[in-house]
Amino acid sequence: MRSADRPLSPHLQIYRWQLTSVLSILHRAAGVALTAGAILLVWWLVAAASGPEAYDGVADFLGSWFGILLLFGWTLSLFYHLCNGIRHLVWDTGHGLDLRSTYVGGWLVVGGTGVLTLIAWIAGISSWAS
């Protein structure tokens, strides 16, 4: 068998997903998504520095359904990458590396991401309404 024909690991059709591996790949995905968010931040800053027309263009885009979807994805990615990043920093100190702690920490990250995203959007919508 040529090396290109060999099954790759993990063999995704028969792979049993676990919380730990899902959170691991999501950390990467969120990191890449956050780079897109950072480009959005630069676009917003440059537009604000450029003038009212440029700024209104960005504000209109961010206020559209697609813009709001992007902002929601950005918030979710940010809080996930932040919470799971702290989990990684704890691992770097050599703590929490046993199986039980990785699951407890993993669920804490999932819960923390949900709660922080919810708080941020409730605060954002009430700030917008006032």
Partner: protein
């Protein structure tokens, strides 16, 4: 020097091996990560207060020293962290040597350019140079 004696004469002569810089990438990713914990939390709170703001309110806000300084720090830490992270993603998934090298260079340069553009916009607004 046991490790040296384990190497073949050719290996010793060519002298290839660790560049002794491997830890630098890992370490800087951690330092920027630690910086981004408070910076990103501050940023989210600041942005929530600016929802629906017009250009003048944004400029007034960036005109204060603290938000301007924190925004510059956020941009530096974010794009440094992003360039290190994206480099690892590229090195893991892109196996063609030329494409890998090209992408790593493009990502590095793009992150640097984006950080400079963001910082320039912040400083312009902070110093009242905007049109």
């Amino acid at each position: 020097m046991t490790a040296m004696r384990m190497r073949s004469p050719l290996g010793r002569a060519v002298g290839l091996g660790s560049a002794k810089e491997g830890v630098e990438h890992w370490w800087l990713q951690r330092i920027t990560a630690v910086a981004l914990v408070p910076l990103s939390l501050w940023f989210v709170i600041a942005i929530i207060r600016l929802v629906g703001a017009d250009v003048d309110s944004v400029r007034d806000w960036v005109g204060n020293p603290l938000p301007a300084i924190l925004l510059v720090l956020l941009l530096i830490a974010t794009f440094y962290h992003a360039s290190l992270g994206l480099q690892v993603v590229i090195e893991d998934y892109v196996h063609a040597e030329l494409a890998k090298l090209g992408l790593v260079i493009i990502v590095r340069l793009a992150c640097f350019a984006l950080a400079v553009a963001g910082i320039f916009a912040v400083l312009g607004m902070a110093m009242g140079m905007s049109s």
